[in-house]
């Protein structure tokens, strides 16, 4: 799966983009976020307050119980502030 990070989520994780093999046991957005925290360091810091991180699956806003697959593009970012 392709993972993208934007704004302060990118700054905290220290990377903008990576491709990983879907971790074992992960089937939903929520599982993936929980797995992120187990990576420690900047990832743990970025996802410490889950309520401040938005998730998009294949460029659509995703709910926490959405399924994810190894072919997905998944993005993590703060609430948007454009306009």
């Amino acid at each position: 799966m392709k993972l993208l990070y934007f704004a302060w989520v990118r700054e905290k994780t220290g990377i903008g983009e990576e491709t990983i093999t879907m971790p074992e046991g992960v089937t939903t957005v929520e599982d993936l976020v929980s797995w992120m925290i187990t990576r420690g360091g900047g990832f743990e810091a970025a996802f410490a307050d889950k309520s401040t991180v938005r998730v998009a699956v294949n460029q659509e806003y995703a709910k926490i119980d959405w399924p994810v697959t190894d072919d997905d593009e998944i993005a993590f970012f703060p609430p948007v502030t454009g306009g």
Binding site: P79, T81, G83
Partner: protein, 159 residues
């Protein structure tokens, strides 16, 4: 229905003229231009950098325009949003809605900017005297967008 996500500035007059050029059914064209302020609360800012999500940003803007066109009888709509480094006074965004009558043009334009602010993936990083600060989402923006959601619920309930 036009969407542009670009680093370069835009000519408001030329864009608005082009939007309704040749369409004589249009009776009203309403537009909103967002600019970079020189203050963030009580802090002066030197510049800001707008980040976006190439691909999803365009997709979100197309969906926002489609939603506006579903709610009001709009002849044409326009969203131009810039990204990259911008300074106080620079234009950030232009939205416009044209219709046979002014009510739909005003409402459509207002909806476009309110919906964009809470849905389109853009993030502002302000240069302040204390360094770079990511702008927090404002509760007022959510309230402004929620007003349109409530209006839609009312319409559905009435049907």
């Amino acid at each position: 229905m036009t969407i542009k996500v670009q680093a370069e500035d835009f000519d408001v007059g030329a864009e608005l003229v082009a939007l309704t050029d040749g369409d004589h059914g249009v009776g009203g064209l309403c537009s909103f231009v967002g600019l970079v302020r020189d203050m963030a609360g009580t802090e002066p800012i030197g510049a800001m950098t707008l980040e976006h999500y190439p691909g999803m940003t365009e997709k979100a803007l197309v969906e926002i325009e489609a939603e506006a066109c579903e709610r009001w009888p709009l002849s044409s709509t326009l969203i131009i949003h810039r990204y990259g480094r911008l300074e106080p006074g620079d234009r950030i965004v232009l939205v416009a809605a044209a219709s046979a009558h002014r009510e739909a043009a005003f409402d459509g334009c207002h909806f476009l900017i309110d919906w964009l602010k809470t849905r389109a993936p853009f993030w502002k990083l302000e240069d302040t005297p204390d360094g770079g600060q990511w702008v927090s989402a404002r509760a007022d923006d959510d309230k402004a967008a929620a007003r349109w959601a409530a209006a839609s619920d009312k319409t559905e309930a009435a049907e």
